[in-house]
């Protein structure tokens, strides 16, 4: 039994220690906002925050996440920056199918937490691990800039 702290709640997970956090979240805990896209840390659909770091849940065994603070997309609207990112996403009309957007929002939020004024190169670096097959990249870039601008005005 491994105990995880997910979105502020302690959860006992009765799965083998090498089970990736992605499947523990989706199948065991029932938090399906974190998506499966590749299972090999190649697409970013499964991005969560572990101790604030954007992390690919599909290659993170639950044993490695124990004792750490895990935050998923389901808690992003309670996060000041996360909420701004979500608002910017809606304002720019970013999502198409929306499937990759959990991961995109998680990566963008992590970026803005670490760098309030990201350059295009910073955005490229932080977001190039997240694939969007629908091709929403130009709007993702605009939304990140918009969210950064909002953060600027309000702080």
């Amino acid at each position: 039994m491994i105990t995880l702290t997910i979105n502020g709640q302690s959860q006992n997970i009765d799965l083998p220690a090498d089970t990736p956090l992605l499947w523990a979240l989706r199948d065991y805990v029932g938090l399906t906002g974190t998506k499966f896209g590749c299972g090999m840390a190649l697409c970013g659909a499964c991005t969560v925050h572990i101790d604030g770091e954007p992390t690919r849940a599909c290659v993170t065994p639950i044993s490695a996440a124990a004792g750490k603070t895990i935050v998923t997309i389901e808690a992003m609207d309670q996060d000041a920056i996360g909420k701004k990112v979500q608002e910017a996403w809606l304002s720019q009309g970013v999502p198409q199918c929306g499937y990759c957007q959990s991961g995109q929002v998680m990566s963008a939020t992590a970026l803005l937490k670490q760098n309030a004024h990201p350059s295009d190169a910073d955005i490229d670096k932080a977001m190039s691990g997240n694939i969007c097959r629908c091709g929403t990249y130009t709007r993702i870039r605009a939304a990140i800039k918009q969210a950064a601008g909002l953060a600027e005005i309000k702080s």
């Binding site: 499947w23 906002g33 299972g39 697409c43 130009t138």
Partner: protein
């Protein structure tokens, strides 16, 4: 009453639950749609669904086109699509699948506009697969709006008129004195008003007005149509992780499955050893699924299924299987060899599918002769959400939750494979995490149903891993396009020969088909809109060795790549500006009957309503070039490339700007894409579709390739089947929509037609920047200097 269905949070369920608060009688969640009438959605009272079939109108014209020609046509009965609760909530059914094109916003928005509903009080309910009830649901071919704009307008207008009639009756005034406005009906003379919620019950008792008595709005009165002012309906759910896709389905007591499928199409299991797999913690059962003989159709591929208590355990169990395969007749399929074979075929005369003038004589007489061969590989659609389906069987009724573009075909197939009558199969359609044609084929839905059956009806969720998706798709075809042209002394093209060689989608449904079908030839090759007196199109045979299927924009991709690249090559040979040369080839503005080009298909649309209009094609070329600053001075290493293509009855022209640095690294600062898709119902989503098309076009042109070795796909995940990421995506995409103010002219498609011209425009830009001509996709490292 809580049932295990409460575990599900499909879009349908979200709205279903909300029905509780105004429910007037006990409702069965399971039969939600059947019991629509009883759930407090009072506009539907008194019209049991089963009686609606007779009222389902379809056209009886002898020649059927458009929606009339699709299976089950269209339905415009407001009682099927609209329900109004006493609290004023308007529920609108969306019967087409949402996969990113915005259809769950755009189609209900059309209804809401004619109904003059307040969008804030509108809920969208996803229809299950049931075409008799809802009309055609095949969400493909870029036709949801094209085929359902008018039926949905009539749905909204009919419901509005029923509310107006009900209000007039209550006030005892002539109906001509009242009008609906933003969720209420107003009698101006007396200043009275009644809300839609107050009127719903009375309105529901009225007959549905006859189609010819409907008063559709004037375009000037549209509230939502053409405005692009609405946020996407599912946006909030999507950015908060609440949106429910097929892969997210959860049922009580659900098991999780993956399948090891034959690596080669046509192969089957020889023998297998499951002992190690069964030792993996969480693995519950291992079982064999039979393979089917060709043709592929929508049949499951067979293989060994591993069923477990969670997805990871199933995947681990699958890894532990020991399977010997009989690889079958396609065991030697090899992309390099096949390409060589296709090249040989392309150099020999093939089946003539169009023949104008005398190409051979004209080629002989020409001053300059050019020829080129273009290669475009197999592709996988690779939607970010791989195929997934959950099935369970209770008392002989199979219920499925899945991300499908083909809800009715899913229902038909499950019924067939489970030997159940169709009314014992329910297909609940979730959101799709992308489709691109992959999810038009319900093989995975059948797999889930078979697994549930094998588990005595227990709920089973089948997930395709990315490896499964890339290795077992219905692949976009592979093609060699051989072109020859003769130019006269002035550099004018006087002869054009195009041989297109590609395995056909028809092979998926009729084993042994070796020629492109009319629908494939009609994707830009037979209906090439050039005014060249001597023109011949040939289609040499090509056998399929894998499942060939639809990929967003289908055969338009290789056809446009070859034709639009070759025109640029001809312009260069003639010493002419590419844009001028292209316009000259297209010739003067005229409306061409597609049948006169040998195109009997015409995208399924009427040749009279949808002629090939070269004026519109010329116009988008002018527009894209003007907006992109065609001919402007560029920095060193930069180039502009142009391409235009007509597909899905929409006209698109693209100018791509590239930059190629000293090392040969490609970047794309900007794309200008000009589009004439007729009236634009939701311009905001049209723009997003075209932006997406540009990126998908760049992705397939620069990186996309599925290849085969020993019959099996080489690529297995995103490290070797690469997709364009944000850092390599076009930095700026400018979408230029040809403005329309009236909504009477026919609509064009939007989801697909942006894709085909991207690859040739990109390659033409690379030529302009570097002098290097790309004739083989993907570009990958062809530009790199060592």
């Amino acid at each position: 009453m809580k049932t295990s269905l409460d575990q599900i949070k499909s879009p349908a369920e979200q709205i279903d639950s909300s029905a509780d608060k105004f429910s007037i009688v006990n409702i069965s969640r399971r039969n939600f749609l059947k019991d629509f009438a009883l759930s407090g959605f009072v506009l539907a009272v008194g019209f049991p669904s089963l009686l609606l079939a007779d009222e389902t109108a379809t056209s009886s014209e002898p020649d059927k086109y458009g929606a009339d020609a699709m299976p089950h046509g269209w339905v415009d009965n407001p009682l099927v699509f609209v329900a109004i609760a006493e609290d004023g909530t308007v529920t609108i059914i969306c019967h087409r699948s949402e996969m990113g094109q915005g259809v769950r916003t755009s189609l209900p928005m059309v209804v809401a506009d004619e109904l003059d509903a307040n969008w804030l009080n509108v809920k969208v309910q996803q229809a299950p697969g049931d075409e008799v009830r809802f009309g055609n649901q095949d969400t493909d071919g870029s036709r949801s709006m094209r085929h359902f704009f008018m039926p949905m307008r009539r749905v909204g207008a009919a419901a509005r008129q029923m509310l107006e009639t009900a209000a007039a009756a209550q006030w005892q005034v002539p109906v001509t004195e009242v009008h609906a406005e933003l969720h209420q009906v107003i009698h101006t003379a007396s200043g009275q008003s009644l809300s839609y919620g107050e009127l719903a019950k009375a309105a529901a008792k009225l007959p549905v007005p006859a189609r010819e008595t409907l008063r559709l709005k004037n375009a000037a009165d549209f509230r939502y149509i053409g405005k692009g002012g609405l946020k996407i309906y599912d946006g909030q759910a999507m950015v908060t992780g609440q949106a429910q896709y097929g892969i997210d389905t959860r049922l009580e007591g659900m098991l999780y499955a993956v399948i090891a499928r034959p690596p080669v199409f046509g192969g089957k299991v020889l023998n297998y050893d499951a002992s190690a797999a069964l030792k993996v913690p969480g693995v519950v059962k291992v079982l064999e699924l039979n393979s089917s003989p060709p043709p592929a159709e929508f049949n499951p591929l067979g293989g060994i299924a591993v069923i477990a208590t969670n997805t990871w355990a199933a995947i681990q169990g699958r890894k532990a299987l020991k399977i010997s395969w009989d690889n079958g007749p396609n065991a030697s399929y090899d992309s390099d060899n096949f390409r060589a074979e296709m090249v040989v075929s392309s150099r020999k005369p093939g089946k003539v599918v169009r023949n104008d003038g005398d190409v051979d004589a004209a080629l002989d007489k020409s001053t300059q002769r050019l020829s080129a061969e273009y290669y475009a590989p197999h592709l996988a659609q690779a939607p970010m959400e791989p195929p997934a389906a959950t099935a369970r069987i209770i008392k002989g009724h199979c219920e499925v939750w899945t991300c499908t573009q083909a809800p009715q075909a899913s229902r038909d197939q499950v019924a067939k494979w489970l030997k159940l009558p169709e009314d014992k199969v329910t297909i609940n359609v979730t959101l799709l995490g992308g489709g691109f044609g992959r999810k038009s084929k319900p093989d995975y839905v059948v797999e889930a149903a078979l697994l549930s059956q094998a588990m005595q009806g227990k709920p089973v969720k089948l997930t395709w891993t990315r490896e499964d998706d890339l290795q077992h798709s219905y692949f976009h075809t592979v093609s060699v396009e051989h072109l020859e042209a003769g130019l006269d002394k002035q550099g004018k093209t006087v002869a054009w020969l195009h041989r297109t060689v590609a395995p056909s989608i028809s092979s998926t449904f009729a084993a042994g088909s070796v020629h492109e079908m009319p629908a494939e030839l009609g994707m830009g090759v037979i209906n090439v809109p050039f005014a060249i007196p001597n023109l011949r199109i040939e289609n040499p045979a090509a056998e399929a060795h894998t499942r060939i299927g639809w990929f967003r924009s289908v055969s338009n991709i290789p056809h446009a790549f070859a034709i639009q690249s070759f025109v640029a090559e001809l312009a260069t040979a003639a010493g002419r500006d590419h844009k001028d040369y292209l316009l000259e080839l297209i010739g003067p503005a005229r409306r061409i009957d597609p049948r006169s080009l040998g195109d009997t298909w015409n995208q399924g649309e009427s040749p009279v309503i949808y002629p090939l209009d070269t004026g519109r094609l010329r116009n988008v070329i002018d527009s894209a070039c003007r907006e992109a600053g065609w001919g402007r001075t560029l920095a060193k290493g930069h180039g502009l490339g142009l391409a235009a293509h007509y597909s899905f009855v929409t006209y698109v022209a693209v100018v791509v700007e590239v930059a190629v640095d000293q090392a040969g690294k490609l970047s794309i600062p900007r794309i200008d894409i000009a589009v004439d898709c007729g009236p634009q119902v939701n311009p905001e989503r049209i723009r997003s579709q075209l932006e997406g098309a540009c990126i998908m076009g760049v992705s397939l042109a620069t990186l996309g390739e599925i290849s085969f070795k020993d019959g099996a796909v080489i690529q297995d995940n995103f490290h070797n089947y690469q997709l364009t990421r944000i850092d390599d995506a076009p930095r700026e995409i400018r979408v230029h929509l040809v403005p329309t103010t009236e909504f009477d002219s026919p609509l064009g498609g939007v989801g697909e037609p942006g894709v085909p011209p991207i690859a040739p425009a990109l390659c033409n830009a690379i030529f302009a920047a570097t002098g290097q001509r790309i004739r083989e996709l993907p570009i990958r490292d062809q530009l790199l200097k060592d």
